[in-house]
C-alpha cells in the first residue's frame, strides 16, 4: 500500500469516526441532579429537590412528585451565581440548633458551597416569570452554556473563567455590564 493509499484510508477512517461521533454531540445532556428549586416554577413546591434537564427544547425540573418545564426559546435571561449553605441543613440542621454548649452555632461554621441559576421567562400570554435554582458547584455555568447554545437569551454573556481568573467578582460569578 502506497503512501497515497494510506492517506486516503486514514481520511476515510477519520470521516467515519466524525460521522459516528456526530449523534453523540446531538444527544441530550445528562440531567443535573441535586437541584433545589427555590421559587418560581409553577406546580412545584418551594425548596423542592429534584433534577434539571434539557429535554427537547425545554428546560425541565422534575422530582418524584411533580414535573414542570419551560421552553428554552422563552428564556429571556439566565444568570448564574454562587452561595453557601450549612453543611448540616434541613431538619437535622434545625435540630442541631438546640444542641448543648452552643454546638449548633459551632456547626454553622461548616458550610458547603453551591451554584445558583436564576432564569427569567415569559409564558404564552406574555406574562413574565422568574425561577431560582441551587445546584452543586460547577453545574450552573455548564447548564447556562448549553441553554444559550440552544437559543436562550442572556444579558450577561458566558465568560470562560479559566481565561480571566482575576476578573471574578467577589459576590458572584458574573458582573453585569
Amino acid at each position: 500500500m502506497g503512501l497515497r493509499d494510506r492517506k486516503i484510508a486514514l481520511g476515510a477512517a477519520l470521516s467515519a469516526c466524525a460521522w459516528l461521533a456526530a449523534p453523540c454531540g446531538a444527544q441530550q445532556a445528562a440531567p443535573v441532579t441535586g437541584v433545589v428549586q427555590v421559587i418560581g416554577m409553577s406546580g412545584i413546591k418551594e425548596h423542592a429537590n429534584g433534577s434539571l434537564a434539557i429535554d427537547g427544547g425545554n428546560l425541565q425540573f422534575s422530582n418524584s412528585k411533580a414535573k414542570a418545564s419551560v421552553a428554552i426559546a422563552s428564556l429571556q435571561d439566565i444568570v448564574t451565581g454562587n452561595d453557601s449553605q450549612r453543611a448540616l441543613h434541613g431538619t437535622l440542621g434545625t435540630l442541631t440548633m438546640f444542641g448543648p454548649y452552643e454546638s449548633g452555632r459551632f456547626l454553622s461554621l461548616f458550610r458547603s458551597k453551591l451554584d445558583t441559576l436564576t432564569i427569567q421567562y415569559v409564558d404564552a400570554s406574555g406574562a413574565v416569570h422568574g425561577a431560582i435554582f441551587t445546584m452543586p458547584v460547577g453545574k450552573a455555568d455548564a447548564l447556562k452554556k448549553q441553554l444559550v447554545a440552544l437559543g436562550a437569551h442572556t444579558t450577561i454573556p458566558v465568560v470562560d473563567e479559566k481565561k480571566a481568573p482575576d476578573s471574578k467578582p467577589a459576590a458572584g460569578k458574573e458582573e453585569k455590564p
Binding site: 435571561d77 451565581g81 450549612r86 452555632r105 427569567q120 406574562a127 416569570h129 425561577a131 431560582i132 458572584g172
Partner: protein, 173 residues
C-alpha cells in the same frame, strides 16, 4: 375694660375657629383610594443600585405569591400579561429598590446579632392610566433565622398587607 375683654373673647373665638378649621382640613385629605378587584405586579426595578438577580426574581415571585394568598384580589397579573388589559378596575404596583444590604447567613447563625440582610423598596400603586394612588416605602429584612432571600419574603408579606388594606374589595380581618 369691658371693651378690652370683649375684643379678647372675639379673638379667642376666631382663634378656636381657625384651629378647628385646620383640624378639619387635616382629616379632610384622604387619598383618593379606590377598591380594585385586580392588581398587576411589574418587575422589580433597581436602577440606582446593583441588586443580585436572585433577589430581584425572589422579590417579584414572593410578591405575586403573597398577593395571591393574602391580597384579597380576584386576579393578580404579572408584568406583560395580556389579560390585564381587559381588567376594568386594575391597580398597578411599581416597585423600585432603593437600598440593599446583603448580610451573611453564617454570621447570623453564629452570632445572632450580626449579619442582617435588608432591602428597602419604594412601592407605588397607580391606576391603569398611571395616576399615582399610593406611595409607600417598605423594608424587608431577615435578622436571625433563614437565608438571605428570606428578606424578600418579609417585604412581600408587608406589601401584600398594604395592598389588601388600601385597595382590596375584601380586606382581610
Amino acid at each position: 375694660m369691658k371693651r378690652f375683654c370683649c375684643s379678647i373673647a372675639v379673638a379667642l373665638v376666631i382663634f378656636a375657629g381657625l384651629v378647628a378649621l385646620m383640624k378639619v382640613n387635616a382629616f379632610a385629605v384622604p387619598p383618593p383610594i379606590t377598591k380594585a378587584s385586580a392588581i398587576q405586579v411589574l418587575m422589580i426595578q433597581s436602577d440606582e443600585l446593583k441588586l443580585p438577580a436572585e433577589f430581584q426574581i425572589s422579590l417579584y415571585e414572593n410578591l405575586i405569591r403573597q398577593l395571591e394568598k393574602k391580597g384579597g384580589f380576584q386576579h393578580v397579573y404579572r408584568e406583560g400579561d395580556a389579560a390585564a388589559a381587559g381588567a376594568s378596575d386594575l391597580v398597578v404596583l411599581h416597585s423600585t429598590v432603593r437600598g440593599f444590604k446583603q448580610g451573611s447567613e453564617r454570621a447570623r447563625q453564629v452570632t445572632t446579632v450580626a449579619g442582617a440582610t435588608s432591602i428597602d423598596v419604594h412601592c407605588q400603586f397607580t391606576d391603569k392610566s398611571g395616576t399615582a394612588l399610593l406611595d409607600s416605602d417598605i423594608k424587608g429584612k431577615v435578622r436571625f433565622f433563614g437565608a438571605n432571600l428570606k428578606a424578600t419574603y418579609d417585604f412581600a408579606k408587608k406589601a401584600a398587607k398594604i395592598a389588601n388594606v388600601n385597595f382590596s374589595a375584601s380586606p382581610a380581618k
